[in-house]
């Protein structure tokens, strides 16, 4: 036990001397959070739009204004015909073209239905369909308003038509901000950097400079060496969780709705598996550079892609979906999104947390065994 304490103390003394460490622990998480937080913003807003206004009346201008004020559309061009529209879409200058017919206002005043045409650039199908949805919603709202005011002016008794509009409402993330969805998951990525990469680098560094050999001839047992190495990085990992959660709250105004304690416990379980991977990588790498490469390409990238962090798992081929069950980050992301965004607790997340725990123990156990075998 004392031996381990000596080891932990030594690691912290080394952290203290290494300014890189502070950058990685304190600064990098915030930069990453901000960077990924903004980059991960896949919300459809300010859709670049061109208008073909053949009507040019207050009526058409009212609708255009409404679109602009909604924030979903940003009117960039007023053009005359479809030829120009085609060019703008082809060049990617606009995603949407809205065309008003010449008789737009007259039809409205006659109480007939007026037809608008909206063209969307479907090459990004996701954005196009979301933008189209907004367009339909805004136009419908506008037309309903016209219908109501028209009846007011006619002076007859108000006969409000029973309009039923289906409104979709998204729970937990009411404005459907992808940022709110992505940012909590970034905690998972950051922990990977802090624990996986730093652990493997720290162990390989001792191999590189030759102190590992010195440690092996001391009475330190391999398991003490492993524990002594891993405790400091677990602590650093937890510190970076605190940093990220604080930054998340301050910068993006995303609070943790659920139990912070549960969040830390599951982070710890997740870190166990990362430490295991880090230990494994340090066993097979000879240089820090190798360890870095292996960490990134063998663990981090596959974990990120197969965890549902960037692409939904449901859309992946069956085989890959099966593989994703072996990815600890997949469970951690579910847990962390659950706790932070939905405020759900152990009652709902217990199975993910249990899996994460078992995975962590298993991975750590096998890589420790492997490490001990290599040392002897």
């Amino acid at each position: 036990m004392n031996t381990i304490l000596h080891f932990v103390k030594k690691e912290f003394l080394q952290f203290k001397r290494d300014p890189k460490m502070f950058i990685i622990i304190l600064f990098a998480p915030i930069v990453q959070l901000v960077f990924l937080g903004y980059a991960a913003n896949m919300d459809v807003e300010n859709v670049k739009t061109a208008i073909i206004d053949r009507n040019r009346t207050t009526e058409s201008r009212l609708l255009i204004e409404k679109l602009e004020q909604s924030g979903y559309f940003s009117i960039e061009y007023y053009i005359n015909d479809y030829k120009e529209a085609e060019k703008l879409i082809e060049k990617g200058k606009v995603i949407c073209v809205l065309s008003f017919p010449v008789d737009f206002d007259t039809k409205l005043s006659r109480g007939e239905s007026a037809q608008l045409q909206a063209i969307f650039d479907g090459s990004d199908g996701n954005t196009a369909s979301i933008a189209a949805g907004y367009m339909i919603k805004l136009v419908a709202e506008h037309s309903q308003k016209i219908v109501l005011t028209a009846r007011d002016k006619s002076g007859k008794a108000l006969l409000i038509p029973a309009t039923i509009s289906a409104e979709t409402r998204n729970w937990y993330n009411p404005t459907l901000k992808t940022r709110n969805f992505m940012v909590p998951a970034i905690v998972g990525l950051l922990l990977m950097i802090v624990t996986l990469i730093l652990t493997s680098l720290a162990i390989v560094k001792e191999k590189e400079i030759g102190t590992m050999e010195q440690l092996i001839v001391t009475p330190i047992k391999p398991h003490q060496l492993i524990i002594g190495k891993l405790i400091p990085f677990t602590i650093l990992g937890m510190v970076s969780v605190v940093v990220v959660l604080t930054a998340m709250r301050v910068i993006f105004n995303i609070p943790v709705r659920g139990s912070i304690l549960l969040l830390f416990v599951s982070s710890f379980f997740y870190v166990l598996s990362l430490l295991g991977f880090g230990l494994f990588i340090s066993t097979i790498s000879k240089t820090q550079q190798q360890a870095m490469m292996l960490s990134i390409f063998v663990v981090m990238l596959p974990m990120t892609f197969l965890s549902g962090f960037s692409f939904p798992i449901e859309n992946m081929p069956y085989f890959i979906q099966m593989v994703s069950y072996l990815i600890p980050l997949k469970y951690f992301i579910v847990i962390i999104r659950g706790i932070i965004l939905k405020g759900v607790g152990i009652g709902i997340l217990w199975d993910e947390i249990l899996i994460l725990f078992l995975m962590g123990i298993t991975i750590l156990y096998f890589s420790s065994k492997n490490f001990q075998k290599k040392i002897n």
Partner: protein, 307 residues
């Protein structure tokens, strides 16, 4: 009493034989020199003896414990200073001593005493808070040695402890080794510097993993070399060597500093022939030509070229 007994120790890396079936004994309290060229297998042998590397076959008793069956006991009875610097450069002197003392389980007054001793032998009293990485090479090596024996082991393995250290520091490092040996510690040391081998009580030489010679430095000089060495001081040494190499009475040639060494069977007639050949035929100026006691280097060059 032997403190190390090595029996048919072999280490293979794949099909490459790094240490080839070597056996030898090391007496308690002696300074034992382990010599060989780069890649001869010195570090590999040491690492097996310290329990870092498992032998492919063979065994050794280190401090009475088998490296195969009791590696943990071996580890607790030895100190080891690896070929590479073995302390943490980013820790201070004090922190390094505390760490290694701590993992060796030292505490209390005994620890304070040993810490003092290490600081003393490394001349670092009052400089405990310096970063180890900033110390001069000679001091670093003394600190590393002190730290390696902080737990007072019976046996200490030093793998090229003086490589890259200036001659004066090397000399004082050897004083330290002598001091340890006098206090009863067995010192097993490898070196490239043959003049250092002269300080050893016993020497073995390995070449390409095989043991080629063993004994005291005197024994090596008399037993392994049965011909005479002639030391020649002349101008154009390299040219002279090229000429002599072609002669049948010359068995071996090598350059020693500015001089030329040749080994021959009959030194009296050889000296005459050399004078006739170099001065007479090629008009070299020979300043000195003497039969000398072979140095260890002569012996090793002879043995290794023969092997």
């Amino acid at each position: 009493m032997h403190s190390i007994t090595v029996n048919n120790l072999t280490k293979k890396f794949g099909s490459f034989v790094s240490v080839d079936n070597i056996s030898f004994n090391v007496k308690e309290g002696e300074i034992f020199g382990f010599l060989g060229a780069n890649g001869a297998g010195k570090s590999t042998t040491i690492r097996m003896l310290c329990g870092i590397l498992e032998p492919t076959s063979g065994d050794a008793l280190v401090g009475g414990f088998s490296i195969n069956s009791e590696p943990d006991k071996v580890k607790s009875s030895i100190g080891y200073m690896s070929q590479r610097f073995s302390l943490y450069n980013d820790l201070t002197v004090q922190e390094n001593i505390d760490f290694f003392g701590g993992v060796y389980g030292l505490s209390g007054s005994n620890f304070r005493e040993r810490k003092n001793w290490v600081l003393e032998i490394a001349n670092l009293k009052g400089k405990e808070n310096l970063l180890t990485g900033l110390l001069p090479g000679g001091i670093k090596q003394r600190l590393a040695l002190g730290t390696a024996v902080i737990h007072n082991p019976k046996i200490v393995f030093l793998d090229e402890p003086t490589s890259g250290v200036d001659p004066i520091s090397r000399r004082s490092f050897w004083d330290l080794i002598n001091q340890l040996s006098e206090e009863g510690t067995t010192v097993f040391v490898t070196t490239h510097y043959l003049e250092e081998a002269e300080f050893c009580n016993n020497i073995i030489l390995i070449n390409a993993g095989k043991l080629v010679a063993e004994g005291t430095s005197e024994e090596l000089k008399t037993n392994y070399i049965n011909h005479k060495i002639i030391d020649i001081e002349c101008d154009r040494t390299v040219e002279a060597m090229e000429i002599l190499e072609k002669e049948t009475f010359v068995l071996d040639t090598s350059i020693f500093g500015n001089n030329l060494h040749i080994s021959v069977l009959d030194d009296v007639s050889a000296k005459k022939s050399v004078l006739a050949l170099l001065e007479g035929k090629h008009s070299f100026r020979i300043r000195k030509i003497d039969t000398i006691v072979p140095t260890l280097e002569d012996v090793f060059i002879h043995l290794i070229e023969k092997g």
